[in-house]
Symmetry: C2
Subunit: 428 residues, 2 copies
């Protein structure tokens, strides 16, 4: 296909008329579709329904260590849950604390604790004039929302195909003691689906931060969330790399079963060094008597072990893969060669990242919305909602039914074309 930039003004005007007619057609169909959030579909949720059967009134709810899971106690999680989440996180169970239903909440708590109590003897961040976080962009809006909520200044770091630009990361953390953390989604990143290369992970582990209380906030959200059986990304285990590099305490690794069983009714965990674990427990023992052990037991008895999780994730992949392929096929078929947008082709995770021409993302998302398709808000993938190029759009193919998804994507590419033509005409 001919790139749009090679079209004459006359050709663009004619194209605009044609696209607008198609757009009006879409508007007339009263669509109500949602590609905005990384929500599993009903079919995916159905995969875990048998988990609801493993615990019932005829089952003994005593865990391996002999504790009655129905009663108070066990601050950091039952042994078998630590083993399961440890296996998912690729760390030893002794490096795990099991939390409640939300890894986002664990990240919030981790930042909140640093604000009020500091990190391992450091000054509480609320007593400092300035606290900064590095934010690889595009990234996850809910990470950025946490740091914004606490008044932490966020600094954009560009993503590359192998992870965050480590030249910049190394330089900034070495220079500036106010930089206390960096948000990372190392595997099948949100939204690009990029997995950090071995070199990137090793450079992370070898960072020499000016701030002793600098930590890497490693959101291992898509650890076992592959789309393909035979083509999976592998990311080096960061705790081990940090230990090897002499920075054993530098990372907090977060995980949850939200996109394995039921989002909001799963279990979450932090994996980190024993020193960090001890420090976190000092807070945890004040905060709660313990998390939901019955739900921990339910998950372990359903999956049994990591193999059980992997088998289960294949079923998720069987549902998700065709959806990703549907979106990618339509993007390629409709936009390939037009040079008005580029997109990622992830091998796992929940998102496809789309980059329009500069200055077009907000208008594309608005146009899609006006025709009944909700996308993630343009700008959401950047701190403060400010995409400096107004070009990145996150596509979440998981939730819609397959036929709806195709329709929504058709509308999306139409909006991309229409806004691009309008932009080019305006720039002429």
């Amino acid at each position: 296909m001919r790139p749009y930039r090679e079209l004459t003004r006359g050709e663009l005007l004619a194209l605009k008329d044609e696209l607008e007619a198609k757009y009006r057609e879409f508007q007339g169909r009263n669509l109500k579709l949602d590609m905005s959030r990384g929500k599993p579909s009903k079919a995916q949720l159905d995969l875990s329904m048998e988990m609801m059967d493993v615990l019932h009134s005829g089952v003994d709810l005593t865990c391996e260590e002999g504790v009655d899971c129905r009663n108070y106690g066990v601050l950091d999680g039952i042994k078998e849950a630590k083993e399961l989440l440890g296996a998912i996180s690729e760390v030893n169970p002794e490096n795990i604390i099991i939390y409640g239903n939300s890894s986002l909440n664990v990240m919030y708590d981790t930042v909140s604790r640093a604000m009020t109590h500091g990190v391992m003897g450091g000054t509480p961040w609320c007593k400092l004039d300035k606290v900064k976080f590095l934010c690889p962009v595009p990234g996850y809006d809910r990470h950025f929302a946490i740091t914004e909520f606490f008044g932490i200044e966020m600094i954009n770091v560009p993503m590359t195909p192998t992870g965050p630009d480590m030249d910049i990361v190394e330089k900034l953390v070495a220079e500036d003691e106010a930089i206390k953390g960096i948000w990372c989604v190392p595997k099948y990143s949100n939204p690009q689906g990029i997995s950090y290369s071995d070199e990137t992970v090793r450079r992370f582990a070898a960072l020499k931060p000016a701030a002793k209380d600098f930590r890497i906030y490693w959101d291992n959200a898509y650890s076992v969330h592959h789309l393909y059986d035979d083509d999976q990304d592998i990311v080096l285990e960061i705790l081990e790399e940090c230990a090897k590099a002499g920075n054993p305490d530098m990372v907090y690794k977060f995980t949850s079963t939200s996109k394995i069983t039921f989002p909001g009714s799963g279990i979450a965990a932090i994996a980190t060094s024993k020193n960090n674990i001890e420090e976190i427990k000092k807070q945890l023992t004040i905060q709660t008597i313990g998390h939901d052990k019955v739900n921990q037991l339910r998950h372990v008895r359903f999956f049994k072990n990591l193999d059980g999780v992997k088998e289960h994730m294949k079923k998720h992949a069987d549902i998700l893969r065709p959806k990703f392929e549907t979106v990618l096929d339509i993007l390629e078929k409709e936009l390939g060669g037009l040079e008005i947008g580029s997109w990622t082709k992830p091998k796992g995770g929940y998102f496809i990242s789309f980059d329009s021409m500069d200055g077009c993302a907000k208008a594309i998302v608005a146009k899609a919305k006006d025709a009944g398709v909700v996308m993630t808000g343009a700008g959401a993938t950047y701190p403060y909602g400010k995409d400096p190029h107004d070009s990145n759009i996150r596509i979440a193919p998981s939730f819609p039914e397959p036929d709806e998804l195709a329709l929504a994507t058709e509308l999306f590419v139409l909006c991309v074309k229409l806004v691009s033509v309008e932009k080019m005409l305006g720039d002429m």
Copy 2:
């Protein structure tokens, strides 16, 4: 029985020999009993086992408002859970936010949010030189632990048979802008089992605090936890009283199902004014995508409504009541008239509060421990673990089996007698 203080030195010495012989007998029995925490017993936990059957793979997990409880969403709890917890808390569902499994965690979060973000536009407490809380004593050690963890200065306020000494509370909050809160367990208080009188509640509602961000932290832990069917304490509803008194935003009311179904696997809630709800939601939306809706649904479908809860609580009472009576009978039979201790006779809740002669509590708890019976640490019922009279001991009769409980109480009264005699001999 003759009061010990009327005994001669010779009589005391003879008594001491006799008590020591009995104590050695106990030591020889290698007991391992626990009366330290307010934990439900196995029989109580068994009461809720049918809750494990209400949700299974054949059941639709859609809530009344049409949301699939298995997926993300619904920040503040499903409608039917708000109705149920609202009924338990005696407030309207619109005044409720449903949280995770622990009301302690909700209290921690509430204080933590005030530290980092202030209360309704007030200065974040972490930016203030001094923040103080009033602590009715004796009280709940985990409340005091939260305020201590955040460096909040705690001021003791004596309890009376009708609640905290309101003359002192009124005076202090009116005078001192640094006083930002007071910890209350208004019904069947921990540890005394005292319920606040109507006058006390009305005086709370009518407080005129110097600090605009002063809040009453009203831990409604034992709302439906009566021991008797025909003799129940009723506490005025504090949100309504605050509204009537022109202080609608002055109270946070906490509740949970921890001692209704399974501690640690229940649901917790905050009840407060709509203004406070709106403010809390600003944090909540950053902190989590939502709490465990499947567990919310499980609880609602098990109980159906408040009547279901009340029926269920009668079964708890049938198990707890004989235990309280066992302890009270032994206390009366063994210590009545000796004037070496006094104790409360609660009509609900989880504790009996015992006051020894001044300076004896630590020694009594230590002696009981040496013979294999663990009590709540002496001092625990006071901020910083410092009981100025070293006299208060919390007795938790719920967890031990009935025969163990009698044995543990027999040992306890023996320790009270022995330590009292030793004390009197030492003072002579």
